[in-house]
Subunit: 398 residues, 2 copies
């Protein structure tokens, strides 16, 4: 039998899915599992988007333009304009989810063996995409004590080498819920320009920003236009993860043209997803108000309730719908597994994502877990209660 | 401004799209262009698939399983069973088009710098995917004189090195229309086993086989099970290229598990496309009979008519809906451009894909072009007539 590739062997398994077999086993045994581990929102998809699918009128489902339908790109350009971001339709490539945009950017901008700096904990699939592109992720550690704020720029300076080609940030942040401030982004601007780097900005949670704060896009930073590659997605904005429709946005024409060659090789992004995405641009404002209110209620409840549990610390997320929380346990991965395999409270349990998988530095995040508050408030209440009861009896508690 | 990556600069532009700007310009000037250059069929998508989309009932368009919906995978397994191929649902990963399956296979099986052998002319996007995976395409030349049959195995032996890890074939073949025989595939088996290689088989045109011939899948070859990775797609089978739904199929569990990690990183294939794909499994037999009759009529007409043109040679395709034809011109790329820019016949012209882009060996295919007979017979008649008239007056004729 021929060998697997080395990178295939080194490809990290998703930390979110590591415990899935245990959850499946628990369900087979009749246990109810509350999923705080995944970012699949329960919010309804906007009616305009669903209607666009139901009203599909073509007789042949054809390839679209490799950059996506022009009408959709024009609509997206207008969407950015409304946010105060000056982007034209030919600076946008519609991609198969945000994931593909990240891979295209790495391929176009980075050589094999190049390094990309990322504040950890971070969205683990960046490591998967880096494996695909043959580039190395270099982490800078952010800390739960200050809610995972941007680490000091001096920390970035320490790890920059001749191989460093890019910095990637997720803003608002998955998995931490942190929202980078304008000041922090201007600090990044300095170091990016100083070392002639790219900055990759994953802004797919742009609309999920709380407490009257404002999201500031790196695309608004004057003088940084040629260095920015932005990643976008309709998945969370309109709760339609399954359409696999995202975007790569850049004002750097060389990067755009190079990414387009990768886009052409895979022919086109999904046609139906683009229809849904374009229709979703007409989502009424009330939809977002309702979603906002729903998430605020969930966030406020879950963070307050978690912090009331003895030994638990949950920083207040400023955006997205995640939080990395500290648990009074020796090993959060063991605990999360134990929750599924050995514990139940009235035949119910809860699933969390152990946070060690969100760190590239070995040994970090050992007593942390990521929660996604994507459940209805009543279910969240039950989930937190279960967690509280579990921590009372967990043998590995510290 | 930071540099592009070297691979981004080396990424080949699609030969099919190279002339697109000239076609667009011709259309702007009011010229009608018959597209023989692209593989976008005009055949209607099956009603069952369109209905599945129109009847979409979910309120939230969620991620699917990373390997695709289980019900769809079970349906696909049954589809293979009906073809005499023994495959279970957990040997299938539903991918975003056939394209993604090819990339996953290269990532899982091949290291950077490894070599993959492909008979040329070949589907050019293999080169794009190879660029993404950092692997090198090594061509073996097949010839128009024998209709692009498999080159002798001795030719493969000549180019096999320590870096050779896989052979990729497209059967029936895009761009040549050749159908590999059982005997040819057994010859490949020998060399694959002898050198412990993978064989990647792109069988997306499986249903498009003519003249009573039978498609023989490499998955039917006993003793080769652990070496085969099969690529599939609904794009051409059901004329729904835009749903971006394909599959990676392998009985090699290590390869499967490794490919799954790449599948998990990108979360899931398109949900709506999977619905359409699953529904399309119920496409009535008459649909395929009609499609078959349509393509046979087109093929027979276009090949006969082309061969009647002085200086043109078009081998009879045994499958798919392409043919590489020889033209009495010095440089087919110049000719194809001239057709768009400088020529018209009653204000109409035709677009072909110059074949040099389908060869990796420089200088080959210079007097060849690929045609796709994906137009209605009346349009095909006009297109061939235009080509005939053009060749009468083309200054670069030999």
């Amino acid at each position: 039998m021929p060998n697997l590739s080395i990178r295939g062997k080194e490809m990290p398994a998703s930390p979110i899915r590591k415990l899935v077999p245990f959850a499946e086993e628990a369900k087979r045994k009749g246990k109810k599992v509350y999923h705080l581990n995944i970012g699949q929102p329960d919010i309804p998809t906007p009616k305009v988007a669903l209607d666009a699918i139901k009203n599909y009128k073509e007789g042949v489902i054809e390839y679209s333009h490799s950059a996506g339908n022009e009408s959709y790109r024009k609509g997206m350009a207008q969407y950015y304009k409304n946010l105060g971001i000056d982007i034209s339709s030919n600076e946008i490539i519609i991609t198969t989810g945000g994931s593909e945009a990240i891979i295209f950017a790495m391929l176009a901008c980075m050589n094999q063996g190049d390094e990309i700096i990322v504040p950890e904990p971070y969205y683990t699939n960046y490591s998967g995409f880096a494996n695909e592109a043959g580039v190395n992720v270099v982490p800078i550690t952010s800390n739960i004590e200050d809610g995972f704020a941007l680490p000091p720029i001096s920390e970035f300076e320490k790890v920059i080498t001749k191989k460093t080609k890019a910095i990637i940030i997720c803003n608002p942040n998955n998995p931490t819920g942190y929202l980078y401030s304008k000041e922090e982004l201007y600090q990044l601007k300095e170091i990016v320009l100083k070392h002639d780097l790219y900055i990759f900005a994953d802004e797919v949670y742009r609309e999920f920003v709380y407490d009257g704060m404002e999201h500031f896009s790196v695309l608004k930073i004057k003088g940084l236009e040629q260095n920015v590659v932005l990643f976008d997605s309709v998945s969370k904005r309109y709760s339609m993860c399954g359409v696999r429709t995202g975007a790569l946005v850049t004002k750097n024409k060389q990067v755009y043209d190079s990414a387009m060659k990768y886009a052409q090789a895979r022919l086109s992004p999904p046609s139906i997803g683009q229809l849904a995405g374009e229709a979703a641009l007409q989502t009424p404002k009330e939809y977002f108000v309702n979603v906002y209110n729903e998430y605020i209620e969930r966030r406020n409840f879950v963070i307050e309730a978690l912090n009331k549990i003895d030994g638990v610390f949950a920083p207040m997320p400023k955006g997205a719908f995640y939080s990395i929380i500290q648990l009074p346990v020796k090993d959060a991965e063991d605990f999360c597994k134990w929750l599924l395999v050995d514990f139940d409270y009235n035949n119910e349990t809860v699933m969390l994502a152990p946070a060690n998988g969100f760190y590239a530095t070995k040994g970090l995040g050992k007593n942390e877990a990521r929660i996604a508050y994507v459940l209805k408030i009543d279910d969240l209440k039950k989930a937190v209660r279960i967690l509280e009861e579990a921590l009372k009896v967990y043998p590995g508690r510290v």
